[in-house]
């Protein structure tokens, strides 16, 4: 199974490494050549330098053969556009898009894009953590 990871920052590089460990054939794309360092010295997967909105770059990374595409550059709007390209132009069955803004993540989910919002997850986790610790205090007192 082949996966493309677009945006090889903190999140993208870890996803790429983890998928590689799980046996996926992974190609990472990043604008900066330096991002390759994040994948470590033993990286045996693919790496393409370029912008994810550039069709030539996507083709170079063999997007046509991909079973899954993960979009995690540092720009929400860039991710939303690249995600829709993967979904609508290249018909990738599993296209997952990282979106930091909860409002846009929810809106595009409604429009049929698989968005993942780490901000919403953080908000939920923090709120629940505080709330459950308060509940424990109440039980103790």
């Amino acid at each position: 199974m082949k996966a493309l990871v677009i945006g090889c920052g903190r999140v993208g590089s870890s996803v790429a490494l983890e998928l590689d460990r799980l046996g996926w054939d992974v190609t990472a794309i990043d604008e900066k050549e330096d991002a390759l360092h994040r994948l470590g010295e033993n990286w045996s997967g693919g790496f393409v330098v370029g912008h994810g909105m550039d069709i030539d770059v996507l083709r170079q990374a063999r997007i046509e053969d991909a079973d899954a595409v993960v979009v995690a550059t540092d720009g929400d709007n860039t991710n939303l556009v690249i995600g829709q390209l993967a979904q609508k132009r290249f018909n990738i069955p599993t296209t997952i898009v990282r979106v930091l803004d909860p409002a846009r993540a929810a809106l595009y989910k409604e429009l049929g894009l698989w968005t993942v919002c780490p901000t919403s997850t953080a908000i939920e986790t923090l709120t629940q953590a505080v709330n459950s610790s308060a509940a424990r205090e109440e039980v103790r007192s």
């Binding site: 909105m53 069709i55 709007n77 939303l80 829709q84 390209l85 132009r89 809106l107 429009l111």
Partner: protein, 221 residues
Amino acid sequence: MYIVIAGGGKVGANLTRSVLDLGHEVTLIEQRHDRFGLLEEEFEHRVQLGDATELFVLERAGLARPPDLVVAVTGDDEDNMVICQIAKEHYGVEKVIARVNDPRNQSHFDLLGISPTISATSIILAMIEHEVPEHGLIHLLELRKENLEIVEVQLDADSPCVGKQVGRITLPPGSRLITIMREGQAQMADGATELKAGDQVLAVLEVGKEDELKDVLLKNR
């Protein structure tokens, strides 16, 4: 009309001034603080500070009314695409106009159904092609919805079609000659018209058939 303009750079600012002069109600959205300060001096309450791809910013600008028109003219194509999508899909804005900064992104706007689009680069390029007709075939007009375009072809003595009647030329399917410009006079291209060197021929054709048409009209094989 109520118009929301996203992006207060040179294009957005001049556009705001022009549509205000036409008597329309306008809200301009700009996210850079320093630029916003300048715009506020001129446009006062008609300019708002914020990222026009954020829903609360758009709502503050009255997207829920909704506006008659949203114009996305920021310097980032991905932002312009997202602004237009949110306006159409979420707020039900009926008309959007988007600026394309990098012509290579045109197909992305098309894929997402964002139309009409305006690209200064493409317009200037078309004009250069018109002024320097080295390619032999000049794009005059693209009819995007119809998937047709109108081109002009300049015939010279080497053109294989010169001396033939229009009716006897095998044109690629999906193309037609419209008119022939000869010595400053335009005439309709009917089957009996004989083509001559120096003719400027107008043709309508399906997008993507340029090379086939060039083979028939221009290339001597």
